[in-house]
């Protein structure tokens, strides 16, 4: 009887500790998340056959604020290369599986490097597919894959 009680109490303790551990490990709302990606685009048969090469660093600070560092070049077949670098600050909140991101005022030209930045408000989701690799997608399309730091 004593052994059974002891076993039950130990099991209860184990379950309790595990629930605490799960709760602790799954509270990702206040986690810092940073990832990097390089995006190449090639538009065929549009007005200028535009190509871009962009390095992106996305950082969610964990306090509802974040920033995106965008650096790269874009050009058309008949225009000179344009080089741009900009940091776009934003605020965000978690809504289900998605993060609602509200971009602060930014250089309009930066959206030519990364079209996601043409809107003031976007919703994105991060889906882990490999140890450090995440799919970044909006509710409509996949935006890119990035590698977490």
């Amino acid at each position: 009887m004593k052994n059974k009680m002891f076993l039950l109490m130990c099991l209860a303790a184990a379950v309790g500790l595990s629930v605490l551990y799960w709760g602790w490990s799954s509270r990702d709302g206040d986690k810092r998340f940073e990832c990097r990606a390089r995006v190449y685009t090639k538009l065929i048969a549009n007005a200028c056959d535009k190509t871009t090469t962009t390095d992106i660093f996305l950082s969610l600070h964990g306090d509802g604020k974040g920033d995106m560092l965008v650096s790269g070049t874009h050009s058309c077949s008949n225009t000179p290369l344009v080089e741009l670098e900009s940091t776009v600050n934003f605020t965000y909140s978690r809504e289900g599986a998605y993060y609602s991101i509200h971009f602060e005022p930014r250089d309009p030209a930066v959206s030519k490097l990364f079209s996601v930045l043409k809107d003031d408000y976007i919703k994105i989701k991060f889906t882990n597919v490999e140890d450090n690799d995440y799919i970044v997608s909006s509710p409509i399309e996949t935006l890119m894959m990035c590698t977490a730091d």
């Binding site: 009887m1 004593k2 052994n3 002891f6 076993l7 130990c10 099991l11 184990a14 379950v15 500790l17 595990s18 551990y21 799960w22 490990s25 990832c35 990097r36 990606a37 390089r38 995006v39 190449y40 685009t41 090639k42 538009l43 065929i44 048969a45 549009n46 390095d55 889906t127 882990n128 597919v129 490999e130 140890d131 450090n132 690799d133 799919i135 997608s137 399309e141 996949t142 890119m144 894959m145 990035c146 590698t147 977490a148 730091d149």
Partner: protein, 272 residues
């Protein structure tokens, strides 16, 4: 013959009574079989007794019909009697084995002969021989140690399982998230969204290989390549084919390279 159990309970095996001096409790008289079971337990104190052995000693050897349920009932009655004396835990059930009685026993009289095992010499002194004591005391210690070890192992196993289960689930989820499409040199191509799965055919493999060659994917080193396709038709019938090939270095923190290939096909071209 009289015994003192746990230093306080006076037990008279000849009339089956239990009594505690100066306790105010009434003398308990045990039923005949219950009394015989207690006597057997005392004679085999600290020794695990097989259920069959008890049944044989108390029933079979006397030509009576034994019953395991009957034994349980008598042991239960004995437990209640001992509980009335304040000692409910002297008898422990050993699952799939039998029972063990563990108590401090001393004899008041020395003339009677304890009924030891049939193989033991019958005129042993009433005090339990030290050799026997030493022998029997080791068994419960070992058993207790084994039980604790088993309990400890079980708890550890459950604890580890609970902790690692989410990890196993996550690993399974990661595998389920992506579908292996094909392998080209050292590049493993995956599809990771349902939209692409719908349009993915063997013909697309040729397109991806062509695109891979166009964007100079380095498939000489190990990498995971994810393919996303999206075909959109606008209201005027023009088609936008958007392919995204994401090249991620295998087990590396080098950022993934994303290649967008967007083709605009006008309605007229499409119809051709």
């Amino acid at each position: 013959m009289e015994y003192i159990i746990e230093g306080v309970i006076k037990y008279n095996s000849s009339n089956g009574t239990l009594y505690i001096d100066d306790s105010g409790m009434d003398m308990i008289t045990l039923a005949r079989v219950t009394n015989e079971i207690l006597l057997l337990f005392i004679q085999h104190n600290h020794v695990p007794l097989k259920r069959d052995f008890i049944l044989s000693e108390l029933w079979d050897k006397r030509g009576l019909t034994s019953s395991s349920n009957g034994l349980n009932n008598y042991v239960s009655m004995l437990r209640k009697a001992l509980a009335q004396c304040g000692y409910p835990d002297l008898i422990t059930t050993i699952p799939k084995h039998g029972f063990i009685f563990e108590a401090e026993i001393s004899n008041l009289a020395t003339s009677d002969i304890p009924r030891k095992d049939e193989n033991l010499v019958t005129d042993l002194p009433l005090q339990i021989p030290p050799v026997h004591e030493t022998k029997v005391q080791r068994k419960p210690v070992r058993q207790s140690w084994l039980t604790r070890k088993m309990i400890g192992s079980s708890i550890l196993a459950i604890f580890m399982m609970i902790i690692f289960l989410p990890g196993v689930y996550d690993a399974y989820k990661l595998r389920a998230m992506k579908t292996e499409f094909f392998t080209y040199k050292q590049c493993q191509f995956y599809i990771a969204d349902d939209k692409t799965r719908e349009i993915a055919t063997s013909k697309i493999i040729d397109n991806i290989k062509a695109s891979a060659a166009e964007i100079n994917l380095n498939c000489e080193r190990k990498a995971n390549v994810y393919y996303f396709a999206d075909n959109k038709v606008d209201s005027s019938g023009n088609v936008v084919l958007k392919d995204l090939i994401s090249y991620c270095h295998y087990q590396s923190k080098t950022p993934c390279d994303n290649y967008y290939l967007t083709r605009h096909i006008n309605k007229g071209d499409h119809e051709k």
